[in-house]
């Protein structure tokens, strides 16, 4: 019997992703895609004994209902989606055994914006441009899952039983989110007041946010002379600049609206980038719900690199323990 799960309900936007995604095509405008929260994603894979970047599911706000036609070992991480297996509640952040014929429901996230489901062996999907990640906006790597679709995975060695993420290593997604940022290429296009306003404000995540951009609602920012008194080819608005490449995680200022550009964002455009989210903090942005508050802490580039080094450790097997063992922290 083949390893197969049927998608009974697709959820709001459930996509197959891998990590780090489709890297190397930014020059021609194809984004890397991949998980919005790479920390939870990698831990889900490690829990079932997959390589951390293996193809797995990302669900957004409302997850899918899957009927497993074959036994599997799976793990759920990320926002708590109130999952049930054959009608009984199941925990996140640990490996789970699913029997053939059982239904896994992931109804709605109570906190966070995204949850992840890894299946031991990794989800089978043809690679496009070297990756199994899905870029729904551009139709690269297919679309979000639809009802009636089916997921397959290869045969593997017998599963390793009973792994979980150490309780002290499980992130919390509720409340205000502190996000480390560094200066961006156009930080000096804001004046001193504008920079202080940006760094001091409580920024609310807009409902108009998705994998291509996370829009922020907050105070109006003020600009420096070079944003106002500039050669005409930069455009009329103070936030306009001659089209330039956008860093992933860049906080783009679009008129008065800051937009964080995540892994499905545009590669270039005519807006300034005063700040850039530290790569180690992007998973927090990926879990921010509409209405939730983000506060930014400015750090030097060296500190952002150290944060990334620490995240690589946190997203590794060092964060796992056997369920029977005591907590490590």
């Amino acid at each position: 019997m083949s390893n197969r799960a049927c998608v009974l309900q697709p959820g709001l936007q459930t996509t197959v992703q891998d990590y780090p995604g489709r890297v190397g095509f930014w020059r021609v405008g194809i984004p890397p895609s991949g998980p919005m929260d790479s920390l939870a994603f990698r831990l889900a894979n490690l829990l079932v004994g997959n390589p951390p970047g293996a193809a797995a599911l990302e669900m957004q706000f409302t997850g899918p209902t899957l009927r497993f036609e074959a036994a599997a070992t799976v793990a759920l991480t990320g926002g708590d989606c109130g999952a049930t297996l054959a009608g009984a509640a199941v925990p996140h952040w640990r490996s789970l055994d699913v029997a053939a014929g059982q239904e896994l429901r992931c109804p709605a996230l109570r906190a966070g914006a995204r949850a992840y489901l890894a299946i031991r062996g990794g989800i089978e999907k043809a690679a496009v441009l070297g990756s199994r990640a899905t870029f729904p906006r551009g139709g690269v790597g297919g679309e979000a899952l639809a009802a009636g679709a089916s997921l397959g995975w290869p045969d593997t060695d017998p599963p390793r039983h009973g792994w979980r993420v150490a309780p002290g290593r499980i992130p919390h997604y509720a409340g205000e989110i502190d996000v480390a940022i560094t200066d961006g290429p156009h930080v000096d296009w804001l004046d001193e007041t504008g920079r202080a306003t940006f760094l001091g404000a409580a920024w609310k995540v807009s409902g108009q946010s998705d994998r291509t951009g996370v829009r922020l609602i907050g105070p109006k920012l003020s600009f420096s002379r070079q944003a106002i008194d500039k050669p005409p080819e930069h455009g009329v608005d103070p936030s306009n600049v001659i089209n330039t490449g956008y860093p992933i995680g860049g906080i783009n200022l679009c008129g008065d609206t800051p937009i964080i550009l995540p892994f499905d964002g545009p590669s270039q455009g005519g807006f300034i980038t005063p700040y850039v989210v530290a790569s180690a903090a992007m998973w927090k942005v990926g879990q921010a719900r509409p209405g939730q508050i983000l506060r930014f802490t400015r750090v030097p580039v060296d500190a952002a690199i150290e944060l990334r080094r620490a995240l690589e450790v946190r997203a590794s097997a060092l964060s796992l323990q056997r369920v029977a063992d005591g907590a490590v922290e």
Binding site: V23, G24, F25, W26, R27, V28, G29, I30, V128, L129, G138, V140, T182, D183, G184, P185, H186, V187, Q208, T212, G213, R215, K230, P231, P232, E233, H234, G235, D237, S239, N240, I242, N243, T244, G245, Y246, P247, I248, G249, G250, C254, G265, P266, S267, Q268, G269, G270, F271, T273, V276, V277, A278, S279, V301, A304, I305, L307, R308, R309, E312
Partner: protein
């Protein structure tokens, strides 16, 4: 969410004067990117330098240097800061820049690509008509573009637009989308962009905005005026097509595009070839573009050289 404001803001270079190439600025862009700014004026010389620098940085195969993205006057560098410390990257950039700027002329390999275009086609006319009905009443795009450029009518604009090679200054925003400027100073134009932008655009539509021409790789929102449609994809995952066997996008920065006007019968014929996977793109890849020779030629025309010089 990526919105239409992003398109509406694309800058208008048509009023840009020129100035000498100035210094390189290495600007911070987080812990995985730096932005190399070559100047703050729109000029062809800086774009050539940006493309050269973007390519040169990749040549040694430096571990940790992931990719580079040249745009009009800047290069975005994507690197792995755990493998390549920022200080070392800065040294590589400065060395490459010194080497490039020591050359007297700026020369660049530049492909010439012929692209068939059905100007004034029925599909983009429908797209404009729908905007006019639902969003804001406007005159048809080709008529408007001709009028604001002091031309007799749409056909006159088609002649102007198809008489020049168009320089691809940058690619991106959407997959494979080119930003092109006319190289022949006699064929320059300028047109305001849509306000508000369109909610959708015919896939493979050719549009003009500011002094630029662009092609919509797929159905997306848009702010450029639509003047025609090409039957051939500029972005495709169909590897049966020779042009997409090794990459998913057709254009590269530094390409020159010549639009060849076609009629409905030829459009349909080419479309069938594309569908069958047998269409062969016309691409000539043996020219070196020389800035000094281009400038001398443009000056010999006796007309003002304008923004593309």
């Amino acid at each position: 969410m990526l919105t239409t404001e992003q398109i509406a803001s694309r800058p208008d270079p048509s009023t840009a004067p020129t100035e000498a190439v100035d210094g390189l600025r290495i600007l911070p862009a987080g812990d995985r990117f730096v932005l190399l700014e070559l100047g703050r004026r729109m000029e062809l010389a800086l774009n050539l330098r940006a493309i050269q620098l973007a390519d040169r940085l990749l040549e040694p195969g430096e571990p940790g240097l992931i990719e580079t993205l040249p745009m009009f006057v800047s290069v975005l560098v994507h690197y792995d800061s755990l493998a390549l410390p920022p200080g070392r990257l800065e040294g590589l950039v400065r060395a490459a820049w010194r080497e490039l700027t020591s050359a007297e002329d700026v020369t660049l390999p530049s492909r010439l690509i012929e692209l068939p275009v059905f100007y004034l086609d029925p599909w983009t006319r429908d797209c404009v008509a729908e905007y006019s009905r639902n969003i804001r009443p406007i005159e048809d795009d080709p008529a408007y573009v001709a009028r604001v450029n002091g031309l007799a009518g749409p056909e006159a604009f088609v002649r102007l637009h198809s008489a020049t090679q168009h320089w691809v200054g940058g690619v991106g925003f959407y997959p494979g989308l080119p930003d092109m400027l006319p190289l022949d100073p006699r064929c320059q134009f300028s047109v305001p962009k849509y306000n508000p932008p369109r909610l959708w655009t015919t896939a493979r539509a050719v549009g003009v905005g500011g002094g630029f021409t662009s092609i919509y790789p797929m159905n997306t929102p848009g702010g450029y005026h639509l003047i025609g449609r090409t039957p051939v994809p500029i972005y495709s995952l169909d590897t049966r097509l020779e042009a997409f066997r090794h990459q998913a996008t057709l254009f590269r920065p530094g390409d020159r595009i010549k639009f060849r006007p076609i009629d409905r019968a030829e459009y349909d014929w080419i479309e069938r070839e594309v569908d069958a996977g047998t269409y062969r793109y016309l691409i000539w890849d043996y020219d070196l573009f020389s800035l000094s020779r281009y400038r001398a030629w443009a000056a010999s025309l006796g007309a003002p050289t304008g923004p593309a010089s």
